[in-house]
């Protein structure tokens, strides 16, 4: 009896550790295989997604122009207390490094950066460089002031001091219509220069409006698709996907043709006698909504359809058999079960709409341009990467915040899909 018990304990305890090791070994092989399978995708994501986005986010606070072109001046001027003039060492370093900046495009870089602080800075730099002697008998302080009296101005040096640190919040602040005043406090920019808050609001309103319209148009269609016999619904589904066969640009241009004052829609409305003269349907908000809803509608329909397809019609029948009016049954029993589809569709459409650029740029008026228009403007036209990155980063943050709030709301409903 005892020997049996002993072997049993031995068999019960010892192999467990061995088992665990075996399990680990078996699992490890599986894990390595799985990792190898996803490795190409992971690599692609890192190269094409993570790196560009992090570099873009870095650009929004990047302030390395001056500290790279004029490392010594940048170090020295950061020790200056900001009153009066900096001491001779700063002047000397500045003069030496300004002379060196001529080669390798350094002058252009700091010129562009310092121009954001004061639009006349670039010309000041080139003027100073032209008059700068190779060496000086006097102090560099007097030499520079003699070339241009603005070097005697505290504000000039304060501007340089602001550009000296490695990072700056000026782009992010500017994207929120804020700036730092001379004392370094954050204040609102002058009223006539305020723009971006308005643009962000507009972006959210357009994206939200497009999402709501898509939901109201897409829900009944998805319901129809989910309840029709498969052969018919497949045909209709192809019609839903048909727009994807043409380029976005062509579809947007087609809307201009349709909606313009001599276009098909206006001509039709005038023919029916509903209106007497053409109404403005394009190059304004109406055109933006038309075109964006058209482009984004499939992204609402498809997730809704896939969820609705899985909701058995017997739920509604059950509700009706329990005494609910068919409409109440639909609202109380069917719609809650499609919430996950509604959530997926709205978040998809909303996020895509937030970043829309081409469609509003083509069919919208000047007051319908969204954040991405300004991102494009700063990247393509003015080469101000800092502003472009800051606007992009803020848009990303807003999107993430909204997504988190939404996720929480939807989760609170505790969606349970059968």
């Amino acid at each position: 009896m005892t020997s049996i018990a002993a072997t049993q304990t031995a068999a019960g305890t010892q192999p467990v550790t061995g088992l665990k090791a075996q399990l680990r070994r078996a699992e490890r092989l599986k894990k390595i295989k799985a990792m190898l399978l996803v490795a190409p995708l992971a690599l692609f994501l890192i190269i094409a997604f993570v790196l560009p986005i992090s570099s873009m986010l870095w650009r929004s606070i990047d302030n390395t122009e001056v500290s790279q072109v004029m490392p010594q001046t940048a170090t020295l001027i950061q020790q200056w207390d900001g009153s009066g003039l900096p001491d001779e060492a700063v002047f000397a370093a500045f003069a030496a490094e300004l002379r060196d900046s001529r080669s390798g495009g350094g002058l252009g870089r700091i010129g562009r950066r310092l121009n954001y602080e004061d639009p006349t800075f670039r010309s000041l730099l080139t003027r100073t460089l032209r008059g700068l002697p190779a060496s000086t008998e006097l102090s560099w302080t007097e030499e520079l002031i003699s070339i241009d009296p603005r070097w005697n101005d505290t504000a000039t040096w304060q501007a340089i001091q602001r550009t000296a640190p490695l990072t700056t919040d000026r782009y992010l602040l500017a994207s929120l219509d804020l700036e730092r005043n001379a004392e370094g406090q954050i204040v609102k920019v002058a009223e006539n220069q305020q723009l971006y808050i308005q643009v962000f609001k507009r972006t959210l309103i357009i994206a939200g409006g497009v999402t709501l319209i898509c939901l109201f148009l897409g829900f009944p269609l998805a319901y129809l698709l989910a309840t029709l016999p498969t052969s018919t619904s497949n045909l209709l589904l192809i019609c839903v996907l048909l727009p994807f066969w043409t380029s976005l640009l062509v579809r947007t241009a087609a809307w201009i043709v349709l909606l313009q004052s001599g276009g098909l829609v206006n001509a039709g409305l005038m023919w029916t006698g509903l209106i007497d003269s053409p109404i403005q349907l394009v190059f304004n908000r109406i055109g933006v909504f038309f075109a964006m809803v058209h482009v984004l509608l499939p992204f609402m329909i498809l997730p809704l359809y896939s969820v609705m397809k899985g909701v058995s019609p017997s739920y509604q029948r059950a509700a009706v058999s329990l005494g609910a009016h068919p409409f109440a049954a639909f609202w109380q029993v069917y719609v809650p079960q499609t919430l996950s589809g509604i959530a997926a569709g709205t978040i998809l459409v909303f996020i895509m709409a937030l970043g829309y650029y081409i469609t509003p740029a083509l069919v919208g008026g000047p007051s319908d341009q969204m954040v991405s228009y300004y991102v494009a403007y700063y990247t393509n036209t003015t080469n101000n990467w800092g502003m472009a990155a800051a606007l992009g980063a803020l848009l990303l943050i807003v999107t993430l915040l909204l997504y988190m709030v939404y996720h929480k709301l939807v989760n609170q409903k505790q969606l349970v899909r059968s």
Partner: protein, 366 residues
């Protein structure tokens, strides 16, 4: 067999027909009365029209012609949500976004039952199905049997005049199904429910019902108590569909009251109880239940005795099935309790088998 207490039937189908495509009738001229308190099962293979009948009663399908009455009320034009009929669906159709309790409250809410009264009813029904502690769970957190009980409770909580069940036990495993069959039967007895139950499982129908209506091709083939259905099938479809069955093709030689003489095989003959339709000279199908056939010694003295060749033993634990050959039919089964089997039997032996006149039934040949 339970008969209704009221003279007027609770449910009445008169001349009901249903077609979906305008060409073929799914239900042909259905006439059926269901008494109050009765448990009636509609049994049949898939596509026989039984579910369509149930759906017409529930209001999800409309009859193409004919009338359906519930008590005094003609149901044809009454929308389903006003019929006050409880229904248990095949896959329960419990609302996944509501808790068990909310599911049970639902029919009371739609009827605007006062809160306190509704609460009492829900508590009582939860107690009846013994799921009090699961009230706050969601249906997906319950086992199949528990979900089944909740579905049942939801169809009962508003005290409908009639409860319909559409193959409610189909998704459960065998053991649980048998348990639930009894549970539903007891609920029916204790609460005095009137139940119309649809199934394609004949043993389920026999276990639970007061009366069973066997459907085929949109027609009720026979409606009777389980015992009558098993013992006296009206035609060969019912005989084959209900229980196990050996068949022998033969010809009627003479009619003798409720019995007839049938010749089959090579000059063999037997007396058999007959169905109404048979006349002298017509072909017939003999139907004998495997458990009614006596073997060897115990067949001595029976009026109908034959030699059969033993082909195979099939061991089933509580009994054995012997596959024999009789009159050219080598799928002739005899069911024997294990304890009664003579151990000297072996495959290839010729054995004596026999049956009583009333244990063999001569039916239509189709």
């Amino acid at each position: 067999m339970q008969t209704g207490t009221a003279n007027e039937p609770l449910v009445r189908f008169t001349g009901v027909q249903k077609t979906y495509d305008g060409e073929t009738l799914v239900v042909k001229d259905l006439n059926l009365d269901i008494q109050k308190g009765e448990f009636v099962t509609l049994l049949g293979p898939s596509g026989s029209g039984k579910t369509t009948c149930l759906m017409m009663l529930a209001g999800f399908e409309t009859p193409t012609s004919g009338d359906i009455f519930l008590g005094e009320q003609r149901l044809n034009t009454l929308p389903p949500h006003k019929r006050n009929i409880g229904m248990v669906f095949q896959n329960y159709a419990l609302f996944p976004h509501m808790t068990v309790e909310e599911n049970l409250f639902y029919p009371l809410k739609t009827r605007k039952v006062p809160k306190a009264e509704a609460r009492a009813k829900v508590d009582k029904i939860l107690q009846t199905i013994k799921l009090e502690s699961f009230a706050k769970r969601r249906p997906t957190q319950l086992s199949g049997g528990q979900q089944q009980r909740v579905a049942l409770a939801r169809a009962l909580v508003f005290e409908p005049q009639l409860v319909l069940m559409d193959e409610p036990l189909g998704a459960l495993d065998k053991q649980l199904r048998e348990h639930m069959q009894l549970e539903i039967k007891h609920l029916h007895e204790n609460l005095g429910l009137t139940v119309v139950f649809v199934t394609h499982d004949q043993s389920e129908a026999l276990t639970m019902s007061d009366r069973v209506a066997v459907f085929n091709d949109g027609v009720i083939q026979q409606i009777d108590s389980p015992q009558a259905l098993y013992e006296y099938p009206a035609n060969s479809f019912v005989a084959q569909f209900i229980g196990e069955n050996n068949t022998l093709m033969g010809q009627v030689n003479a009619i003798d009251g409720d019995f007839c003489r049938v010749s089959f095989g090579d000059g063999l003959g037997t007396r058999a109880s007959r169905s109404q339709a048979l006349t002298t000279g017509v072909p017939t199908r003999l139907s004998i239940r495997p458990e009614r056939i006596r073997l060897n010694g115990s067949s001595e003295g029976l009026p109908n005795r034959f030699k059969a060749k033993l082909h195979e033993f099939i061991y089933l634990g509580d009994h054995l099935r012997l596959r024999c050959e009789l009159a050219g039919n080598d799928q002739f089964y005899v069911k024997v309790p294990v304890s009664e089997l003579c151990p000297s039997l072996s495959v290839g032996d010729h054995i004596d088998i026999g049956w009583r006149d009333e244990d063999v039934r001569a039916l239509d040949a189709s």
